[in-house]
């Protein structure tokens, strides 16, 4: 028996518009670009919906209707779901239709497609919970298998997932950690007892996601029959072939003219032709097979680049500076208890912002390897940091207001107590005390903001 476990990741970030220093303190909208550039989120979602989401979902629905054995998994970022709701509700409905068949599983994820696990586990947990609530609300299901942003993975993440009730987690099947072993079995993450890790077969996954339309590739043009043969060749040396890729591979990364849609249309049938070959969802996969060994990943592993690490997000100084700046704010942001501020702060955590600041390409000259809607990594950093400065300003204002309110409440409390005492003891103090306190408090409020934002001159 050999089963195939496909999983398609659906995601769009909220790109930050060209946000200038002069906008700090004057403009609270960071994501509302309405130009013709690729910073216009609505425009991008509408474009990708047309090129990828609508036609692909149509094919996937047909495949589910025609092949009762066909199964696959989807993972959504919360940011893409929110944008579907706002800009392309029909796309959201078509995804709901797929999930309603019961043969499409949704995976757990962070709501904001963030790298929070590596910076703040409490924040990470809140994002996972928020994601779970959103999935429940839109699709009526509860995810049981976890995948993290950019397939980032480490032993302690697997342990966290185990402790939080997940039965499976996904990771890259990387030679460095597999050694001679095959990615086509389940493994037990180091330090865990129950959870199983599903490993991406990067060769077969990337044949579709990256190489499919490449005319220089020796296997171009790839047809579904050949591809199914490659899968079938794993009979006997594996149990599950895990095909993990970006959903947008269909129609967006690989354009329609590469023949990707016809390939997708034909692939399940070709795979199913071989007796003893079928499809499974992630949960079914995790429940059907036992781990054959341990997968020990002490350092962060991702599905990116040839390095399979986080350097595309954290490799240079501006990226690290931006990441530190945003997670440094956590305590203050949470203190505000203001939903819109917390939400904006999280939208800024989306990993894409840091990816746009990547300068790796400028060293190897491969400009096209890193897509970005900005003219340069530095432009991405500047817009990000300026927007963040504005948020910092709003947060410290909110925190101060809160503290003031609390003090005022305390004061009234004291006052009331004073009144009580007054009635009892009949002393004549409270009035003067109150005036003395409010004046220093107000100066304090401004000073605090000024300290937080040293460049703001009022």
């Amino acid at each position: 028996m050999l089963t195939v476990c496909p999983y398609f990741h659906v995601h769009q970030p909220y790109r930050i518009k060209n946000y200038r220093v002069f906008d700090i303190g004057n403009d609270n909208e960071y994501f509302n670009d309405n130009s013709e550039t690729d910073l216009n989120n609505r425009k991008i979602v509408e474009k990708v919906a047309e090129k990828s989401y609508r036609p692909t979902n149509k094919i996937l629905k047909e495949l589910l209707d025609n092949h009762p054995e066909f199964r696959f998994n989807l993972s959504f970022s919360g940011t893409v779901l929110d944008q579907f709701e706002a800009y392309a509700p029909d796309v959201l409905a078509s995804f709901q239709e797929l999930v309603a068949t019961g043969r499409v599983e949704i995976l757990a994820d962070t709501y904001h497609h963030s790298l929070a696990f590596f910076y703040s586990v409490p924040e990470f947990k809140r994002q996972v919970q928020k994601h779970e609530r959103r999935i429940k609300q839109l699709f009526g299901v509860k995810p049981r298998v976890f995948r993290n942003t950019e397939l980032s993975y480490r032993n302690d993440l697997a342990k966290w997932c185990e402790d939080n009730g997940y039965i499976g987690i996904m990771a890259e099947g990387w030679d460095k950690y597999l050694g001679w072993r095959s990615p086509n079995y389940l493994y037990r993450p180091a330090g865990c007892k129950k959870i199983k890790v599903l490993l991406k077969n990067y060769k077969l996954s990337d044949d579709i996601a990256f190489r499919f339309g490449n005319k220089e590739w020796s296997s171009w043009p790839l047809n579904a029959e050949t591809y199914a043969d490659w899968i079938h060749s794993h009979h006997g040396d594996g149990e599950t072939v895990n095909l993990f890729m970006d959903y947008e591979s269909f129609g967006e990364h690989q354009w329609e003219d590469t023949g990707i849609f016809n390939f997708l249309r034909a692939m399940p049938e070709m795979v199913l032709r071989h007796p003893d070959t079928s499809f499974k969802t992630a949960t079914e996969t995790a429940e059907s097979y036992e781990p054959t060994g341990e997968y020990d990943v002490p350092d962060v592993l991702t599905w990116a680049d040839t390095d399979r690490d986080l350097t595309a997000w954290t490799g240079n100084e501006i990226q690290r500076d931006a990441l530190n700046a945003i997670y440094y704010m956590e305590e203050d942001v949470m203190k505000t208890k203001k939903r819109d501020l917390i939400e904006t702060w999280r939208k800024l955590q989306t990993s894409d912002h840091f990816y746009y600041m990547c300068t790796k390409w400028s060293n190897d000259g491969d400009v096209h390897a890193y897509f970005s809607p900005y003219q340069s990594p530095y432009d991405a950093y500047i817009s990000f940091m300026n927007a963040l400065s504005d948020l910092q300003l709003r947060v410290s204002q909110a925190v101060t207001e809160r503290e003031q309110k609390k003090l005022a409440e305390d004061d009234t409390l004291i006052e009331k107590e004073g009144e009580k005492k007054e009635t009892v003891t009949k002393t004549e103090k409270p009035d003067t005390v109150e005036i003395k306190e409010t004046i220093p408090k107000a100066t304090n409020w401004w000073n605090k903001i000024l300290q937080k934002i040293p460049f703001l001159k009022l």
């Binding site: 200038r20 220093v21 501006i318 500076d321 300068t359 400028s362 940091m385 460049f455 001159k457």
Partner: protein
């Protein structure tokens, strides 16, 4: 292989990017086994191992020396005072000549030199030497390469192009066997404005020598001690260089952060206009004029600055951001420059977008990480932009030209 080169300026005399480029290219061509005879219009001190010929030597009957070498970027009608001889009592006889006259005289001398010397190929740098190159070609029948370091369109920033210079450029390009430009940006100009066929033009980006610069005691120490941020403009003050846009951006920067001081280092025909503009915009306290700085003074200023801005309206290449990097200072440059094609670790703006220029100046001053990264990664990039590479390209180009001759 021997090349007869014509140029207008050469280090160590104080001059702009043209002399630096001629020096770098000549040095590496020599390294690469190409013999270079370098012809300059007047006797001067030189650097390096090329054989120099000065056009005002022996052949020149009357001119003893000029007081000023006319700058190659001046307008055609700008004049220079030339000592053409001496009275019996020893007082010099001074005549005014236009730069166009000088250029024609240079060409005349070039034809004499070309007859006397033996060489395989002619290579003339910048418009002031084009006619000399053409004259040498007519006399010798050798192949001619013209090297475009700037065009009349750059110098005029697109307005009021000097027609007598344009005419020289256009006719000389037509006579040349190959035209080399210092950037794709400049190639685009001569293809569209001078109608040079694109396949006749080859881009050879300027190089830059990377070295560990000597650390000097920083300039403007008192201002730095007060915690002021220093933003530097270094270059000629002319319409081409966009200093007026720099001043307008300064206004917006200072409105946002009064702690920034702008330094203008350089001299030029727009100087008084720019000084007036600074006054009119109420920036006298924030903009300092340092005059033209050279050598150690210039290096000290580069090292003192937190950021260098090259606001050029039209810049064929633009050495300033690279020099600044040598001294550990990052830059904001305009898209309308050749160097923008090769330097990625810099902030780029359109020269007319004063708001964005101010935004990038302010942002890079606010967030130190961006400056530090532009310097670290920029210097790595600098190491790959050598004159050696440029010289290899030029040598290959000579070879191709000569192969064509023999077959």
């Amino acid at each position: 292989m021997r090349v007869l080169k014509f140029g207008w300026e050469f280090p160590p005399s104080k001059n702009g990017g043209l002399g630096v480029a001629c020096f770098g290219l000549t040095r590496e061509l020599l390294q690469n086994g190409v013999e270079v005879i370098f012809v300059l219009p007047k006797t001067q001190e030189t650097r390096g191992n090329a054989r120099f010929i000065f056009a005002d030597e022996e052949r020149l009957l009357k001119v003893l020396h000029t007081d000023v070498t006319p700058g190659p970027y001046q307008q055609s009608d700008s004049t220079v005072d030339v000592i053409v001889g001496y009275n019996e009592d020893g007082t010099p006889i001074i005549k005014s000549r236009t730069i166009i006259e000088e250029v024609h005289r240079f060409a005349h001398q070039a034809s004499i030199i070309a007859r006397e010397e033996s060489f395989d190929v002619i290579h003339a740098h910048d418009w002031t030497s084009y006619l000399a190159g053409v004259a040498a070609k007519i006399v010798s029948g050798k192949k001619l390469v013209l090297h475009v370091h700037a065009t009349s369109f750059d110098q005029a920033a697109g307005q009021n192009v000097d027609l007598s210079i344009y005419k020289i450029e256009k006719e000389a390009f037509a006579m040349a066997d190959k035209v080399v430009t210092v950037s794709g940006y400049t190639k685009n100009i001569i293809v569209h404005k001078h109608q040079v066929p694109a396949d006749k033009v080859e881009v050879v980006h300027n190089g830059c020598d990377s070295f560990e610069p000597q650390k000097h005691p920083p300039a403007l120490a008192e201002l730095k001690r007060q915690g002021k941020k220093i933003v530097l403009y270094h270059g000629r003050i002319s319409i081409q260089k966009g200093v007026d846009y720099f001043v307008r951006a300064a206004r917006k920067v200072v409105d946002n952060d009064p702690n920034v001081i702008f330094v203008v280092s350089g001299w030029g025909d727009m100087k008084s206009q720019v000084i007036d503009l600074v006054g009119a915009m109420g920036l006298s306290k924030h903009v300092l004029f340092a005059g033209a700085l050279w050598e150690e003074d210039r290096d000290r200023m580069y090292q003192a600055a937190d950021l260098v801005v090259m606001p050029s309206v039209s810049e064929p290449f633009g050495l300033v951001p690279l020099e600044a990097l040598q001294h550990g200072t990052p830059s904001v440059i305009t898209q309308q420059s050749g160097v923008a094609e090769v330097l990625t670790h810099t902030l780029k703006v359109d020269f007319w977008d004063v708001d964005e220029m101010a935004n990038k100046i302010l942002s890079s001053l606010r967030y130190p990480a961006i400056r530090s990264q532009m310097v670290t990664e920029g210097r790595q990039q600098l190491e790959k932009m050598s004159w050696k590479l440029a010289a290899e390209k030029v040598k290959r180009l000579y070879h191709n030209l000569l192969q064509y001759v023999t077959t």
